[in-house]
């Protein structure tokens, strides 16, 4: 039991490290995602005139829209390297648990989105003059990203098999992650200016994460099976 678990993590980390090294060498995704997230924030500023006094109500939404859009960019690239080099078959031939592949891709996506968030949150706080740079933002961002990435990794595997993958991925992912987005926006709002509506938003995100992480990890094998 212990040994198999150890093997699972060794495999996962090996694949994760491969993806990260690949990204560090080519720098295809990170820069683009971060720049895109910042652009969305800027566009939102003009679209909603965020200097007005209702920015507390709108700004958390803008932040999460930026994260979700940037995530979709990154998620679309999850299996890009495998597709371009045709190495998906070789990856599947390896005696590796499918769950380990899913886990590695999930962690990779979280790392990519996480880097974007580390850059975007301080800039967001500075640009809109909101007190989001507290310890409380960390679990919200982490759990929200986990939910988006859990669904997104699974469906990027699905979309990568189709012709119109750029169109299909957001159409598949957006409706499903609505609970996470609602929870994350509300939790961020509570952080910025506590309303005290008494709703456990973080609990909602955790429940979503647990359910969809387990379901997606099980379902992933059916998606990549040849």
């Amino acid at each position: 039991m212990m040994a198999s678990l150890q093997l699972f993590w060794q495999q996962t980390l090996a694949m994760l490290w491969k993806d990260i090294r690949c990204e560090l060498r080519t720098r295809q995704v990170w820069g683009g995602m971060a720049l895109f997230a910042l652009l969305v924030l800027v566009v939102f500023n003009f679209a909603f005139d965020l200097r007005v006094n209702d920015k507390v109500a709108v700004a958390p939404g803008a932040l999460w829209i930026a994260f979700v859009f940037a995530s979709i960019l990154g998620l679309g690239r999850t299996f890009a390297a495998e597709l371009e080099h045709g190495s998906m078959d070789r990856l599947l031939i390896c005696p590796v648990d499918r769950k380990a592949i899913y886990c590695a891709k999930l962690l990779g996506n979280m790392a990519f989105i996480g880097v974007v968030e580390i850059i975007a949150v301080p800039l967001f706080a500075a640009a809109y003059d909101l007190p989001v740079l507290t310890l409380g933002i960390i679990p919200i961002v982490l759990l929200g990203t986990l939910g988006i990435a859990a669904i997104g990794t699974l469906f990027s595997a699905i979309a990568s098999n189709t012709r119109a993958r750029e169109v299909l991925l957001p159409l598949l992912v957006f409706p499903l992650i609505i609970p996470v987005v609602i929870g994350a926006v509300r939790a961020t709002q509570e952080l910025v200016s506590p309303v005290g509506d008494g709703v456990p938003w973080l609990g909602l995100i955790i429940a979503f994460d647990v359910i969809f992480l387990s379901v997606s990890a099980v379902m992933f094998q059916y998606v990549v099976e040849e």
């Binding site: 012709r163 409706p175 499903l176 509506d197 709703v199 938003w201 379901v215 379902m219 998606v223």
Partner: protein, 250 residues
């Protein structure tokens, strides 16, 4: 896949019953469809009578009678997605293409009925609330359900009739259905800050309940009828594609 190993395709085309494949069901397979169709037509006439004439008028006016089509259509929509969910699980488990066709057929009927639910619901809302749409939990969940299953049909049309496409669709069929209660709960909580006009259900008179029940039964029959038609359609389509591929590969 099952079809690849199945004997002469000509026989696949002439078996409409599908899941009821044992000899016991032969009469059901031959005539069941006509009985079902006839029952649906009669049921529809009875439903119109019960909804428009039999049931008493409500205090708010006659537009309330929209409920006798809105509720059954919504019920069928959710039933259809439940069938997609079950058939998807069975497909992934049994690897039998017939379950996949059932899921596909049910998803299509479900999307049609969800569209009708949204339309009739917003007509009722305009008459009762004076607004086409409110962001209430039930409405929003139905809308998101519609998005999920339209994406399901899109995915199916992009992947065609391939094994990997079928598995991907099954995964979406399962995950989409699991997502529904979570969406409902989250929208419900989200709405606590935006108090909405609540529909307080009074004790319904017995006649209204009877009319509603007739409508629900009839629309469920209609759902079964449409499902069988679509299932047959997809079976024939699969057979035709199979045959065409075999002819062209020779």
């Amino acid at each position: 896949m099952r079809v690849a190993s199945s004997p002469p395709v000509t026989s696949a085309g002439s078996s409409p019953g599908g899941i009821l494949s044992s000899g016991w069901f032969r009469p059901v397979r031959q005539y069941g469809e006509y009985v079902l169709g006839g029952a649906t037509v009669i049921g529809m006439l009875v439903t119109i009578w019960a909804a428009l004439i039999y049931s008493p008028r409500e205090v708010n006016g006659d537009f309330q009678r929209i409920v006798y089509v809105h509720v059954p259509v919504a019920w069928v929509a959710f039933l259809a997605f439940f069938v997609v969910f079950c058939a998807s699980i069975l497909f992934l488990w049994r690897k039998d293409e017939r379950w996949d066709r059932l899921a596909w057929a049910s998803a299509e009927v479900g999307v049609i009925f969800t569209t009708l639910t949204l339309i009739t619901g917003s007509l009722w809302g305009k008459a009762f609330w004076g607004a086409w749409w409110v962001w209430d939990a039930r409405l929003t969940t139905t809308l998101i359900l519609w998005f999920i299953y339209v994406a399901y049909l899109l995915l199916r049309s992009y992947t065609g009739r391939s094994p990997s496409g079928a598995r991907a669709a099954a995964v979406l069929g399962i995950i989409g259905f699991i997502d529904v209660p979570i969406v409902y709960e989250s929208v419900n909580w989200w709405n606590t800050l935006h108090p909405q006009q609540l529909v307080v259900e009074d004790q319904l008179p017995a006649q209204m309940l009877v009319a509603l029940l007739i409508a629900v039964v009839t629309f469920t029959l209609l759902f079964a009828f449409l499902l069988i038609q679509l299932y047959k359609l997809y079976t024939l389509k699969a057979a035709a594609e199979e045959l065409r591929a075999r002819v062209e590969s020779e």
